[in-house]
Structures are given as C-alpha cells and as structure tokens.
C-alpha cells in the first residue's frame, strides 16, 4: 500500500477503521502522533518505519516495563528490530483500545509475556514477567526462593495439561476469570 505518511486518504481511513477497533478520531490522532516521530523528509516516504528507540520516547510507553516487548510483538519488520510502521502502530493502539475484545487483548498479552517467542510461557518467561511486574530494584525484587515458589504455584494453578508450560488457551482461561483485565490492558494516546 503506497501510504505516504504525510497524509491519510479518506479510503484508507475508513479501511483502517474497518480493520481496527479505533474510531476515526483515534486514527487521526495516532497519525498525528506518529508523524511527529518522523523527521521531515521521512514523512514523504511511503511505509516509513520508526525505530524502537524513538517509539519508546512516547510518554505512554516510556515507563512501561513491557515497552520493548510491546514493540517487538507489534513490529512486522523483517529485521526483528522492533521498529513500527504506521500500520503496526495502529495495530498496537487497536489492541490496547477501549473496544478491543477480551480475546484479542489476551492474545496480545500472551505474546507480550512470551519473552522468547516460542509460543508458550515457560519458567524463563514467567521469571522475566514477574521481574517486570515487581521492578528491577533490589528492595522490590523477589528473592530466589520466593521466585521459585511463585513460578511453581503459577504453573500449578494455570498449567492444566501439566506439560510444564502455560500455553495460550491456558492463559486465556486464567484471564477470562479476571474481570479487571480488559480495563487494565489499555493504552490511551
């Protein structure tokens, strides 16, 4: 699609609206914010990508501990460097929008938490996830013993088929019982 980043055609706009959970206003706002990240001559090029470093300067993502994972999950770049095109950016916002369904949210949450991209949450993923949640400082970090116990308990609770990892369906099963997840898995521009 020959999208020049400088303007957004009417057809394209309605197309995006049809394919994402965003409203027209949200898409336009997203476009504005996205072009602010680009330099002037980049704006006229079609399909420009913004590097992960620059995406992460957005205040909405700046202090999120999962910021790099979010970029990697939504990036369609061939080099797997986490850079986002405008469409990827829309994908990101769509998944984190108000009206996105529980299913799509839980799917992307799963991929964000799957740090090694192997399709399941294993011990390593869970440890990284917990570390992200509790922060990296020493006083909030769990001790080794606590971490081991925590991971064992999480697996015990959610690993239904007992294969030592949490797969997507098991993850969604856990998520479906938390009424707050939909409201907390949101990013507002």
């Amino acid at each position: 699609m020959g999208t020049t980043a400088s303007q957004l055609g009417k057809d394209l706009l309605s197309e995006y609206q049809e394919l994402t959970f965003l409203t027209k206003q949200e898409i336009l706002l997203a476009h504005k914010r996205f072009s602010e990240l680009l330099s002037k001559d980049e704006r006229n090029l079609p399909n420009t990508r913004v590097s992960m470093e620059r995406i992460l300067t957005l205040p909405e993502l700046k202090s999120n501990p999962f910021r790099e994972r979010i970029c990697h999950v939504f990036s369609t770049s061939d080099q797997k460097n986490g850079s986002l095109s405008f469409e990827d950016f829309l994908d990101l916002l769509s998944a984190f929008s108000d009206s996105a369904t529980l299913e799509i949210k839980s799917h992307y949450a799963f991929r964000i938490f799957d740090f090694d991209d192997d399709g399941t949450l294993d011990c390593g993923d869970l440890e990284k996830l917990v570390n992200c949640l509790t922060g990296e400082t020493d006083d909030t970090r769990l001790t080794t013993d606590e971490m081991r116990q925590l991971i064992n308990n999480i697996l015990e609770e959610s690993d239904i088929d007992k294969d030592g990892t949490v797969n997507l369906s098991e993850f969604q099963h856990v998520i479906s019982r938390s009424p707050d997840f939909v409201s907390s898995f949101k990013i507002v521009l």
Binding site: F66, L133, E146, I175
Partner: protein, 839 residues
C-alpha cells in the same frame, strides 16, 4: 494406544464442545499410525511430518532448534550462582517435557504441537479463524456445508506448519487462507468486519484478507449491490455502538474520587482501598435515600408549609449538636409533616404532581382535583425506599459473592495476579514504581498465605493457643456485656431524669437540652474505647494469619455494636414510644429522630477525635518520643464497622427524620477527605499485607444482614404496632401508621366498587401471614435449586479437569514413545554428537 480416558463422551456438554468427533479421531489415528509406521519401517513410509523434520534436521543440523531449549538454559545459566540442588530438582518437576532432554527432532515436534503454535504462528491463527467463520456461517445460514469441512482445517499437527517451514508449510497456509477468504465473503458485512477486527493479525495481513474477500465477491456477485437496508442497518449499528462507547467513557469519567482512590490503592493496597470503596457505596445508598425522601416528602411539604405554632425558639448554636430547639419544628423531623391532603388542580402541574407516584392520580383527576395525601406519601415513600434499598443490597451482595466465591474452586490467584495485575494505562514514572511495589507486596502476601497452610503445631501449643483464645474471648464478651448493661441503666436513669424535669417547670431549657447529649456521648465513648480493648486482646492472641485476625476483630466489634443498638432500640421504642406523655412529649417520633441525629453526629465527632488523637497525635508521639520507626497501620475492620454502625443509625432514623440521609451524606463526604488525608499522613502500608478478595463481600453482607435487616425490622415494627403521636405528624389520629394504607384502600373501594379486587388483594397480600410464608418457601426452594445446579457444575468441572490431565499424560506418553523410536533409529555415533549439542 491412548490411555483409556474414563469419561462419558456422550454427555451433552461434551457433545457441544466437540464439533466433529470423527475428525478428532482421525487426527488421533493419524498420529498413532505415524508412530506405528515409524517403528515398523524405520521412517520410510508416509509418516510425513517426521520425514520432513528428519530431512530438515539432516540438512540444517541442530542449530535452529537451539532456541527451543535455550530459554531453559538461559534461565539456568542466570541462576547458576545462587541455584541449589533443590531448585534444579524442582524445575525438573515442573518442566517435565523439556527437562528430560529430548532429541532435537522430538523438540521440533513438541514445538509444532497445536497448543504451542497457537500463540505464535500465523498459520495457526488463520486456521483457528477459519473454524470460527465456519461456525458463524453455519449458525447464520443453517445451511450445512459439509464439503467445506476438511480435516486439515482442524487444528491438527498436519495443519500447523511453522512459519519457518519450507514450501509445504507455505502451501498449506495459502490454501487455508483461501478457504478463510472464501468463508469471509460468505459472511454478512457486519459479521465480516467483526471477524476481521477480532483477528490477532497485523493490519497489513487483515487488509490483504479483506481485499481478497472483496475481490472475490465482486467477481461472483458482479453488479449485485448490498441491499440498501442492510447497509443502513450497518450504519445504524455503527452509530449506536459509537455513541454507546462514548457514553460509557463519559460514565467512566464521572466516577467519583477516581484519583484519590488510585493513590490510596497504589500506596496501601487493596485492603485500605476496600474501606474507601465501601464508604463510596454507602454514599450512593444515602444519595438514593435522600433523593427519594427529598422528592416525595420534603419538597411537597416545604412547598406547602403547615400551620405552625407562632412561637419559634431562637437559634442558640446548641441545636447543631442536639438537633432540638429551632430545628424541631422544621421539615427535618416527622412532627412537622401534616396529615392534610395537598390539593392542586389538574392543569397546574407543579412538582407535586410529578411526585405523586405512590397514590395514583387517575381517578382524582376526574374530579378536576389532584390530591397528594401526605400520610400515604410518607408511608409508601419509606416503604418503597426500604424495599428498593433491600433489592440493591441483595443484588450487590449476590454479585460480590459470585465474584469472590468461584464454582470451580481452583485457586489461580497467583497466576491471575501475575498475568492481569499490570495496569498499562499508568504512565507516570512514580505511579509505575508505586504499582511495582504494590504488586510486589501483593505477590509476597499471597505467597505467605500459601506457605502458611503448611505450618503445623504440636498438641501442647494448640492447647495453649486455645486457652489464650478463650481468655481473649471471655474478656471481650464480659466487657461488652458490662458496657451494654451500663448503657441500659444509664438510659433508664436519663429517662427518669426527663420524667422528673418534665414535671418541674422552673428549669433551664438549655441545660435540659445539653443533658440530652449525655447518652450519645457515653455510647460513642464506649464505641471508641472498647475496640481498643479488643485490639489489645487480639495482640495478646497474636494471630498468625492476618485475615483471621481481621475476621475476629470484625466479629467482636460487630457483637458490641449490635448489642448497643439493640439496647438503644429498646430504649426508644419500648420506653419512649410506649409512654411519651410521662416525659412531657407531644411528639415522640420527633424526639427519637432527634436522638438519632445526636447519635449520628456524636459518632462523627468521636471519629474525628479518634482520627486526630488516635492516629495523628499518637503517630507523632510514637515517632518523636518513643522513637519508633513504624507508623501505625490503618485498622480496616474497626473503621468499616464504624461506617456500618453509622449507616444503621441513618436507616433507623429515616422514618423519624426524613432528612437524616442528607446529614449522613455530609458526614460521609467529610469523613472521606479526613480519613484520606489521615491515612496518607499518619499511616503506613501494612507490614503483613493480606488478601482482601472476600473483604468486600463480607462488608456488604454485614451491611445487609445485621445492619439493614435490623433497621428495617425496627421500622416495620414501628409502623405496624406502635401508636403514632396524636397531635403531630402525618399519621395523627390513626392507630398505627400502617392503617394509612388500609384506610386508603377502603376509601378507594367505596369510591369505585370495581377496585374491590385491589382491596382484597391488598388485604390478602399484606395482612395474611400465609403470603409471607409462601414467598419465603418459594425463595428457599429457588435457593435449593441453585445450590444443586452449582453442585452439578462443580462435578462436571472436576471431571473435565481430570480428563484434561489424562490428555496431558497421554501427550507425555506419546512423546516418550516418539523419542524412544527416534533413539532406536539412530546410530550410536550420531546420538553422541546430538547429546553434546543439545545438552
């Protein structure tokens, strides 16, 4: 081959779950066959996937599967410094499939299992959505299209090529995509859009799918446009949904105190937060009560003020405390309301007409007059307000029960906390840090609770504990009993005092009024001091689990408050109302209303004093003088019980003081800000944080059961069997308040004989106890049925879980089989090198 799963597949639920058992079997068969053939022919037959994998392996070596085992290795590597033997053993236990070090081919198969590809592979997503569109189509069209069903569309091993797989994988993906596109274009426009939106694919891919679907549609349906009405429907649906979302987001922004609540939860966790949320709930209840009484009672009466005795007492300032004096002849109390019928002509529709809901205006309007009977309005307004409050309470109680007590009893709290607790909306650096801390404490507390279950005590220790508990309970019960007896005799003394002073004329009225404050002060003092004693007892007992400590504290405080209120109710309804003339009262209802006002106010003042001295000054004292590092923790149980106590007073008083909810609203508003700042300044996040999952449920239940039920029993008793004052109030001249309704029905019957059915229904429904029994019986039967249904669901869930576990065992079994076949096939030399590279 597969282990015999002991489960009835013909169960209706199971049938609903499996769309085509034949297909499922086919998949299993092919898998079994695959292994069997492999073992017979050594991989020369059409065990396709294995062959394919084998070939790739030979070509590429084992490097590209390293990522499968790498997470574990990395994980171990990082923990190398601190890991111990136990840790490693544990990990092997929880990770049985990887820890046993499979050969790379097995790992490869493992990684392409449906359960693992679904979270990663695009092909898997596409085929999942193919199935879903299929279901949708079948549902929408009810036209069976079996030819579209193919085995490969099911999530089977055959269908899941990995993204990295060569031509074959791409091939199946292309065909799958074609089928998906085919399905998509057969869906209606709205369904297609919804489907496309809900697919977890990137916009570019979705766009491609959409384009293909539209293209094909153009080819097949060339020229035939969408029906106009369906397009219109689509636009209307979009518009309605958009407005609904904006409405929702508007409502969301209206929520009261969002920011302060968030700050509190960020700093003190869910426990303290639950107190403030409870306060907010109470505020809404009072707002409702205030609106109802304000609209139906206070406003009509304020618009038509009754004839008042000319002399008005001057304002002295003491009224604010006692509620007596110049307040007593105001719209605030029962005595002010008249028993007149307020008249308005039909044309002149003011506020009064809109308000008259309780007594239907229909036939009055015929006579060109619209009447608003104050007594009826009073009766029905209070009745309806209590009824609606009861419904709301029961509803919220059941909802919160539903949330905190799950049917399936699986405790996935830790997993839920880990997966769902991060709030992605939070963008401020400090708040992120707060949230991290919060989650950390919550995780720690959950872990502590899990650990706690494993500790065992010896018999001697148990006996000792039991004795300590017994002693503590004795202290609490004896002190409560003593206080309640004290209140009983003191109120009796005050009553006699009033009797004497009513006989002697020459006394200072101000002093008289001030003496009324003695009882509320005493009760509030007891309410303030006794919980301190209870805390002391709890400290002596030294409970291990913080939640048990909270429950014990709640039950002790509850005991105290219920008995105090019981004695007070006896004092008001038994002593004062029975013989109002003996203490020179013209209007005992107003007097009781004033008493309740005084109690409510005193409760508030003592809470303030407690906050100032107990929290603020004590905090300063312990910090400066005792040199303690820790600030006191916020006592949730006591504070919530105080709120419930105040609310009970408010509910008790609505009948006598229609404006009491307004006072309560003011009190709660002030209390919120005072408590909030006090908590922020003086308190510290609890050292032993505890889970408060069921706390809200317990609060609501307490609010419903002793508090609301007690208040409504008292109010009903007053309405049914106590004679109202002769010279004041809307019910003057009647034997009981309840008679107002009865008289009205009789009158209506007289006016219009056709309505005699209503009268009879009224007398049956309200006066016969039979109806009450029948209603209660039906209620109990419904509860019984529900509990049976829940029990059945529990059984089914446990059976299903058992089945899933069996399936997992099967999987492990199959994989071991696969591995052993693989091992057999290899030359010993190869095995050596392969082990070197994978381990």
């Amino acid at each position: 081959m597969a282990r015999n799963v002991n489960f009835d597949l013909n169960h209706p639920l199971m049938e609903a779950g499996l769309e085509s058992p034949v297909d499922e079997e086919g998949v299993h068969d092919s898998f079994n066959q695959l292994i069997a053939e492999q073992s017979q022919n050594g991989g020369i037959s059409d065990g396709y996937e294995l062959q394919q994998l084998q070939r790739e392996l030979d070509e590429e070596g084992r490097d590209d599967v390293a990522y499968l085992s790498s997470p574990v290795r990395e994980f171990r590597g990082r923990n190398k410094g601190r890991r111990d033997v136990e840790w490693e053993e544990d990990e092997r236990q929880t990770d049985p499939l990887i820890a046993e070090r499979w050969s790379s081919a097995t790992l490869r198969i493992l990684s392409s299992m449906p359960s693992r590809t679904i979270g990663r592979s695009r092909g898997a997503i596409i085929s999942q959505y193919y199935n879903r569109t299929m279901q949708l189509r079948r549902r929408r069209q009810s036209r069976p299209s079996i030819k579209d069903f193919s085995r490969s569309a099911r999530p089977s091993i055959r269908g899941y090529g990995m993204e990295a797989d060569e031509a074959d994988g791409e091939d199946t993906e292309v065909s799958k995509r074609e089928r998906l596109v085919n399905n998509l274009q057969n869906l209606s426009v709205t369904d297609r859009i919804r489907m496309l939106r809900a697919m977890p694919l990137s916009v570019a891919e979705k766009n491609e799918l959409r384009r293909l679907a539209l293209q094909k549609e153009k080819q097949t349906l060339s020229g035939s446009k969408l029906p106009c009405c369906s397009r219109l429907k689509y636009y209307i649906i979009i518009a309605v949904r958009q407005s609904w979302y904006s409405w929702l987001s508007f409502l969301h922004s209206l929520q009261l105190w969002q920011m302060p609540l968030k700050r509190v939860s960020g700093r003190f966790g869910t426990g303290v937060l639950s107190y403030f949320i409870f306060l907010k709930t109470l505020l809404y209840f009072n707002l409702f009560l205030f609106l109802v009484t304000g609209a139906f009672l206070v406003l009509p009466q304020a618009v038509h003020p009754p004839m008042l005795p000319a002399e008005r007492r001057p304002f002295s300032g003491l009224e604010l405390l006692t509620g007596a004096g110049c307040f007593s002849d105001s719209v605030m109390y029962y005595g002010y309301y008249s028993n007149d019928t307020l008249h308005k002509s039909c044309k002149d529709d003011g506020a009064v007409q809109n308000d008259s809901v309780s007594n239907s205006t229909g036939h009055d309007c015929v006579s060109k007059r619209l009447s608003y009977k104050m007594s009826l309005a009073y009766f029905f307004t209070i009745g309806m307000a209590f009824f609606i409050t009861c419904i709301i309470l029961v509803y919220s109680m059941s909802k919160s029960f539903g949330q905190s007590f799950r049917i399936d009893k699986s405790h996935s709290i830790l997993a839920m906390k880990a997966f769902c607790s991060w709030d992605f909306k939070v963008i401020k650096k400090t708040s992120v840090k707060l949230m991290s801390e919060n989650i950390c404490t919550q995780l720690k507390e959950l872990l502590a609770e899990v650990n706690h279950k494993r500790v065992k005590n010896t018999v001697g220790q148990k006996l000792c504990r039991l004795m300590v508990h017994g002693l503590a309970w004795t202290i609490c019960i004896v002190s409560t009993a003593a206080c309640v007896t004290g209140i009983y005799f003191f109120s009796d003394y005050m009553h006699q005092n009033l009797q004497q002073s009513s006989r002697s004329v020459n006394q200072d009225p101000l002093l008289n009024e001030a003496s009324l404050l003695a009882l509320p002060v005493l009760v509030s003092l007891i309410n303030l001091l006794l919980p301190g004693l209870f805390n002391l007892a709890a400290w002596m007992e030294d409970y291990e689990s913080p939640s048990v400590r909270t429950y014990v504290a709640i039950s002790r405080n509850l005991m105290l408050k219920v008995s105090v209120l019981g004695v007070l109710c006896y004092h008001w309804l038994g002593r004062v109302a029975a013989d109002p003339n003996s203490i020179g009262l013209k209007c005992w209802e107003s007097f009781v209303g004033q008493e309740l006002y005084r109690f409510l106010l005193m409760d508030f003042i003592f809470t303030l004093l407690d906050t100032l001295f107990g929290e603020f000054l004590w905090g300063l004292f312990s910090e400066k003088v005792l040199r303690r590092r820790r600030k006191p923790a916020f006592d949730i149980a006591r504070n919530v019980l105080e709120l419930i106590y105040g609310q009970t007073l408010a509910w008790l008083g609505v009948l006598f003081t229609p404006l009491l909810p307004a006072v309560q609203i003011l009190k709660l508003l002030l209390l919120f800000y005072i408590k909030m700042s006090s908590v922020m300044m003086n308190c510290q996040a609890p050292r032993k944080p505890y889970r408060v999952s069921q706390m809200t449920t317990i609060f609501i239940t307490l609010l419903c059961f002793p508090s609301f039920l007690g208040a409504s029993v008292c109010v009903t008793y007053t309405m049914w069997s106590i004679k109202p004052s002769v010279s004041c109030g809307p019910f003057r001249g009647l034997q009981t308040m309840f008679q107002a309704g009865k008289l009205w029905v009789q009158e209506m019957e007289k006016h219009d004989p056709k309505l005699s059915v209503v009268a009879r229904a009224h007398s049956y429904l309200v006066e016969h106890p039979l109806f009450l029994f029948v209603g209660a019986g039906i209620f109990l039967i419904v509860i019984y049925f529900y509990s049976q249904v829940v029990d059945g669901q529990r059984k089914i869930i446990s059976l299903l879980q058992e089945q899933i576990e069996n399936e997992g065992e099967d999987k492990k079994f199959l994989i071991t089989k696969l591995q052993s076949i693989h091992e057999q096939k290899r030359t010993p030399a190869r095995r050596l090198t392969s082990q070197d590279s994978t381990c």
